[in-house]
């Protein structure tokens, strides 16, 4: 029941939010907050009670909790949830950012509060479903289901500076991109299922059943199906030729929507590649790995360059996401345990860091009424708490040692160097660009001559505690990543073993105090 509860709590919580709006504006907010805290608490409880290193090194699947119910037996579809270390990290991230997203909309959203929180919670329910589903049909359901609430979040509660048409356009763009990508993936899923069906006469959408299906098909077909999955996830990650929706969606989304998008929704794509693309099509993925990593490098530089020229603070952060997702892509396809483990940290760190930056951008906008960095300037003098926090997150964005981002990037680059040294060297060079855009961000907003003499209210306790909690977690993971690495090690070993069984990379010491990169 635990895993169903993880999805049902936000679902029914959202419904309650909507219904309870007439009782007062505060009621939906509290319901939403309590729901997300419950999700987070369940996640933490699963972390504390589960044993995610029990089968260390054997490379098997380690489902700590598993649930299965009958759904559409005629198609071989069941409601099948499972949680391993990778899912757990994602669930924790979702719970945490869910709480944060509700918290940061406390003052920002003033219209239709109930419906807003319903959409927010339903999108989170969809995301949680994606992270837990072990049936491809169920996975696809959640994958598509989470789009609709996000669409509404952007289209109805989005940025108010333009008229509604711009928001709707951005939301529609987002929806069409991801939906088309999703349909391509659906073709891949169905083809995979039918290959399996033709060979075994068993119609099943179940993850573990389909894991062996790649042995039943020709290498061309495997490559084609892998591409179907890859395209579906690439749109959401996003990877450069298909990234067009991201900056617009972020620019128009409300703060909570941006946190949701950058922090969690993008991670569903990384998760999907790790959970499905690599284990389902190991040979084709290896064949494709170089191209994918090249795309990753292109994305890293493209995102960084475009971030540099943005004047809108939210667009800047959006483009840095594209850049960071390039690292994720390299991490995924290098396929040794170091990069995969670094990947988990990187995804979590990016979620927290981008979330924090979007929240700060939202807070600046609430006060100054602009997101244009040319009109900011000199904010350092006007706030006590906001500037150092912004500086911290900007530093985290460029991956300064001591933050989780550093650990993630470092592990990815270290691991990838053994596999693809040239690509890694090029990718490492981009860290300079990361420094540039981070500094530009700080410089343009905080320093220089103030654009106006106006005084602004400083951050409230609510706002400080939200941002500070994110910062503390970034620091904690930055200084002591071992607990997080321990959680994901079994899941990542499995992926690594299926993807590249020949490659015996340096095993990570588990549970010990030793550095994760010890020789």
């Amino acid at each position: 029941m635990t895993l169903s509860a993880l999805i049902l709590i936000p679902f029914f919580g959202g419904l309650l939010c909507w219904l309870s709006e007439r009782l007062g504006a505060g009621v939906p907010r509290w319901i939403a907050l309590i729901s997300m805290f419950l999700v987070l608490a369940i996640g933490v409880n699963l972390w504390l009670t589960g044993d995610y290193t029990s089968i260390a090194g054997t490379g098997g699947l380690n489902w700590q909790v598993e649930e299965q119910y009958s759904w559409i037996p005629i198609l071989g579809v069941s409601i099948h949830f499972g949680l391993d270390g990778l899912s757990l990290v994602m669930v924790l991230l979702t719970g945490l950012l869910g709480v944060v997203a509700v918290g940061c909309s406390w003052k920002e959203i003033k219209t239709n509060i109930g419906a807003f929180h319903m959409n927010l919670l339903w999108s989170l329910a969809g995301v949680l479903g994606v992270f837990l589903a072990l049936d491809m049909m169920l996975f696809f359901f959640f994958w598509e289901m989470m789009l609709i609430p996000v669409y509404f979040l952007i289209a109805l509660w989005g940025h108010s500076a333009h008229n509604g048409a711009v928001r709707v356009k951005a939301a529609t763009k987002f929806f069409i991109y991801t939906q088309v990508g999703g349909l391509v993936m659906l073709v891949g899923i169905l083809a995979l299922v039918f290959v399996n069906f033709n060979a075994t006469q068993q119609l099943s959408f179940d993850y573990e059943t389909l894991l062996g299906a790649h042995k039943l098909m020709s290498s061309e077909l495997q490559f084609a199906l892998m591409m179907c999955f890859f395209i579906g996830f690439a749109v959401k990650l996003p990877i450069v030729p298909v990234h067009g929706w991201l900056p617009d969606a972020h620019a128009e989304a409300p703060t909570a929507g941006s946190v949701d998008l950058a922090g969690i929704l993008l991670k569903t794509a990384g998760y999907g590649m790790l959970r499905f693309t690599l284990p389902f099509f190991p040979d084709a993925s290896q064949e494709f790995a170089n191209t994918a990593m090249l795309l990753g490098v292109v994305g890293i530089f493209y995102g960084a360059f475009l971030a540099f020229v943005q004047t809108d603070i939210k667009r800047l952060i959006a483009y840095t996401s594209i850049s960071h997702m390039g690292f994720v892509l390299i991490g995924i396809y290098s396929g040794n345990l170091l990069t995969l483990q670094g990947l988990v940290i990187q995804m979590a760190a990016h979620g927290l860091c981008a979330g924090g930056l979007f929240i700060l951008a939202g807070q600046i906008y609430e006060r100054t009424g602009t997101r244009d960095m040319r009109e900011m300037g000199g904010l350092w003098a006007k706030f006590t708490y906001l500037p150092p926090l912004l500086m911290f997150f900007a530093a985290a964005l460029l991956g300064i040692p001591g933050t989780a981002n550093f650990v993630g990037e470092f592990l990815i680059l270290l691991g990838a160097f053994k596999v693809v040294p040239v690509i890694t060297i090029i990718a490492t060079a981009s860290l300079v660009l990361a420094g540039v855009y981070s500094l530009i961000l700080i410089h343009r907003t905080l320093f220089g001559q103030p654009a106006s003499e106006q005084k602004y209210a400083d951050l409230s306790l609510r706002e400080i505690s939200i941002v500070l909690s994110l910062a503390l977690i970034l620091l904690w993971v930055g200084f002591y990543p071992q607990p997080l690495l321990n959680v994901s090690v079994d899941a990542m070993t499995f992926i690594q073993q299926t993807y590249a069984p020949a490659d015996v990379s340096v095993p990570l010491p588990i549970g010990g105090a030793a550095s994760p990169v010890a020789p």
Binding site: N163, G164, A171, I176, Q179
Partner: protein
Amino acid sequence: MNLTLESFLPLAPVVLLSLTAVLVMLAVSIKRNHCVSYWITIAGQLAALMSIFALDGFAIDRVATPVTGLILIDGYAFFYSALVIFASLVCTVFLRNFIESYGNNKEEVYMLLLIAAVGGVVLVSSSHMAGFFIGLELLSVPVYGMVAYTHERSRSLEAGVKYLILSAAASAFMLFGMALVYAQTGTMLFADLGEKFAQHGGYLAGFGVAMIVIAMCFKLSLAPFHLWTPDVYQGAPAPVGAFLATASKLAIIAILIRFLGQVPGELTSVLQPVLAVIAVISIAVGNFLALTQTNLKRMLAYSSIAHMGYLLIALIAGSSIDIESANVYLLTYVVTSLAAFGAISALSHAGNALDAEEVNHYRGLFWRHPALAVAMTFVMLSLAGIPLTAGFIGKFYIFMTGVTTTSWILLAALIIGSGLGLYYYLRVMVALYDRTNNNAEQDKSPIGGVSVAVVMFLVALVLWLGVYPQPMLEFINTLH
């Protein structure tokens, strides 16, 4: 042939519907009363629907029963008959609220509707060219009258005439095609076609079959035979549009499936690439032209062209018709379309010069009629084929057909079409929640309570089929 009561029993739905039509006529001639005509129509259709279940139409061990040589009653015939009657029943409910404010005679429209329903049932059960043609004309001719029923509106009259002419042209095509097939094979029975063709061979039958299929494409408004669709959908009163989009189309598809299933493979294999092209063109034309529509009815018309294109994939991909996919798709499409037109009907009145058909009319509907707006949201999502709605299950089956038959080009068309489709469905959907343009005058227009209730019921069905499709799929799986 021994004509006993027993042998006519499977015809009960047809008989009951015809009787009801006569009853409505008699009732009108005794005393005009809208309410009485309406309830007779409802009761008659309910009885016809019941009779299908009373006859055990869906029993697994049911054997196909031929009646009079023209008609073959089997599980499919019952399934499609039930769908046709259900659709026309729902249209009746929509009609009542709509026609209430009509200045002229209101009662005859029910008669026309009933006759058309009879035609639909005959059509889906026919196994003989004669039954085919009789059913088709019985279905089409009353619809001319229904489309032009509100003839005070010039658009309605125009639409009626347009539909009449083009439909008649299509019928002529079909008759000629039948004549050619008969000239070659000497039989009108679908079941004998293959055997007779094998004996005689020749080209004429091929032409004949092609002409019949083209006529069907006309009726299904598949591109490039789609030109009448937007005008007729726009001009027809909204509830009639509902009938046209659902009962009429599904009956024609049912007979097309039946017919193509019996035609020898040598004849259809030539048509297959042609139909594939038609499917792709329909998907492209329907979706592209729907993009810029500001009129909801026209948009639905173009979207129906695209949907028929999707459906065609189930008929032509691979070497045989994927009947199961077609059935699932049709069922989900019919329920969704009924709800879409029902929502328009609920806000439209025959007394007004126009139906509530502009997208602008729906702007901010959520703040006036929240229930209807939420219902329309799900309808749009279902038309777009988003999970958790019936539309997704339908589309899923088409995808399955495409993948199992490895028809990659058709799948690509399906994906691109769906992407384009999202654009206009989402546009309508988000307009429902627009706060900026909330005209106060539109608030005054009354709303059909019963129609809204039926729309809600249909939307509940859409969600149920989308979330828990197992019973529906199981049921369709057992049809034979």
